[in-house]
Amino acid sequence: MAGVLARIVQGTKSHLGIAAPLATISNGSVRFQQTESQGKTKFGPLADSDRVFTNLYGRHEWRLKGAMARGDWYMTKNILEKGTDWIVNELKTSGLRGRGGAGFPTGMKWSFMNKPSDGRPKYLVVNADEGEPGTCKDREIMRHDPHKLVEGCLIAGRAMGAQAAYIYIRGEFYNEASNLQVAIAEAYQAGLIGKNACGSGYDFDVFVHRGAGAYICGEETALIESIEGKQGKPRLKPPFPADVGLFGCPTTVNNVETIAVAPTICRRGGQWFASFGRPRNSGTKLFNISGHVNTPCTVEEEMSIPLKELIERHAGGVCGGWDNLLAIIPGGSSTPLIPKDVCETVLMDFDGLVAAQTSLGTAAIIVMDKSTDIVKAIARLIMFYKHESCGQCTPCREGVSWMNKIIYRFVEGNASPKEIDMLWEISKQIEGHTICALGDGAAWPVQGLIRHFRPELERRMEAYSMTHGPSKAERLY
């Protein structure tokens, strides 16, 4: 799942409205090592020459020959020979933040693996589970540009001293996994991976592991459990995967997009990548725009681009015009929705959306126009979380199930206005009290709905009691 399911140590919650995933380390606050931007204020359309994924729409050959013609595997040996410190430094300079939803600085994450070996091999695991509703970016990378991912695995593996990479791809993506497996076979045959990868003296293997249909396996520890052949039930952290991960060995789990942009960052320089977007939100991002837009699509754009411009330029605008917009879910289903007035001015990056009490997540934009039954849309998401909950911990298993029952009564208005506050409280009791972030992912959409659409909920309850008399909740409470 390419969602916000990476729970990070919660830091300074007090000055944020919600418990947003903050990147902190245990001994202090975050420092992002990054060059200052040149005072850019306009984050607008990206030039094609600045796009990383040049075969996003599959117009060109995706196999090795076509990939090499588009610049993949160029000077990889030189990058590998530069060594661990150089590669990690490039990533830190670029300011790349994890593209899987949590936005943890990638350079810092890779540097956690930089510790003396204690005899255990190190592994890189690539999270290609992509289960977050709204997200469909990794499938484009894997079927149209798989060599970027394979090369990225090699470079990331070199940076952390890993001996093998396991790419966990969701079971439903059979054709995408097929393309990826062909790309890996081509890379092995050409001597680009395997023993003495690219002639650099470094041995590195890449394997594809297919999943079997569970959103929870997008969570990094659940993913590791799933690769080990067990049920995808997340582990408690600590111990973090960098200490005890796959097969008990130090492991780093990264999203497909994060790994796939790494070779281009190393080739064109961290500073080039950092020149896009606002400070601490740098680079380019794949956006998926779905829902009530005229031309839903996947597009690579600069970070910090205004949401309105993104939708109007690439998705053909909202169905019925911008004024027909009701709400948008900006980062995949786990992020709270934002109403139209916020969408007018919000910038699509991590900080901008956190300031709007939501989150960038996977940048999967779900647009809802005024014809949407907003309560039913959110209720459907809660049903999704209830279905996908692994059942390990009580707040998620019982709480999400309970929220599902309540919110489906809200759809028809068969509830009391007091239950809105009760639902808010239940979501707050789930959020932060679970083993993994699926509980948070289920709680946040509900909170977004209550925060921005409370009058709609109350209107329905009143309409229901006009036709059916007082609801059972109203009578009993």
């Binding site: 020459s49 610049g71 469909c136 499938r139 054709n175 699509c297 690439h314 998705a315």
Partner: protein, 250 residues
């Protein structure tokens, strides 16, 4: 007064019994009951080709970690006979030297594992919110009518099994239906009937977007990547071009 409300409240519930969609009972997820076709003596053996595939996959994992091949093993079983009887689970447990209970755990946890026959063509309709916003409820109804099969059950001739599934990961091409491994995207009601009819006649409908676009570009034409991709080495940083001395393997 209370009785009147009870009746009014009960009517939707009674009407619901006449609707087509069958609710999945929780027993289906966890409990195994021996039946004529599905019991520990149901014959199952891997074909030679599949056994070779399985052995090759086991090699992907470190020595002693062959449990990791469980996912692939059960997938191969499903590709061989269409579903996973309990005897196949026992066979896999034996090959991978793991307790049978661990295989049962996997088989009941993951939604792609079919523990009963789901038809020659398993049609899966995504019903999560991005697809719902683009009309997946209507698509589900169309699929049920075209296959004469309610969601959760099997058609009379065993050709089709219809299931509602969670997000399939193709949201920019919503609504999406999946038939076995292939995705049919951007479907409308006509496309559904065409696809089901083609399957009935023994054909293979072309998979992918059904509305004319190639992948996930805007239907009206690409708004990005309109220029030719830059050649290799475009924008390469000077630091990389300097000759680097090979470091001893770190």
């Amino acid at each position: 007064m209370l009785n009147k409300y009870k009746i009014v409240k009960d009517i939707p519930r009674m009407l619901r019994n006449f609707s087509c969609s069958k609710h999945l009972r929780s027993e289906e997820l966890f409990v195994h009951r021996d039946s004529k076709d599905n019991n520990p003596s149901t014959p199952f053996e891997f074909t030679e080709a599949n056994m070779t595939r399985l052995c090759a996959i086991i090699q992907n994992y470190p020595e002693g970690c062959q449990r990791s091949a469980l996912s692939a093993a059960l997938d191969i079983v499903q590709r061989q006979i269409g579903w996973i009887p309990i005897s196949a689970m026992h066979k896999v447990a034996e090959i991978l030297s793991m307790p049978r209970m661990r295989v049962y755990e996997w088989a009941t946890f993951y939604t792609m594992n079919k523990r009963r026959f789901r038809g020659k063509f398993n049609v899966k309709v995504c019903v999560t919110t991005p697809c719902m916003l683009r009309g997946s409820d209507i698509i589900l109804q169309a699929v049920e009518e075209a296959t004469c099969c309610c969601a959760g059950s099997l058609s009379a001739d065993g050709m089709f099994g219809v299931d509602t599934v969670q997000c399939q990961g193709a949201c920019a091409n919503a609504p999406v239906i999946a038939v076995d491994d292939d995705y049919y995207e951007d479907v409308n009601v006509c496309d559904v009937y065409n696809i089901i009819q083609t399957l009935k006649c023994g054909g293979i409908p072309p998979w992918g977007p059904q509305n004319g676009r190639f992948a996930a570009e805007p239907i009206t034409g690409q708004t990005s990547l309109c220029e030719c991709p830059p050649p290799p080495g475009f924008g390469i940083q000077p630091d990389l071009l300097q000759a680097s001395t090979p470091k001893p393997g770190k």
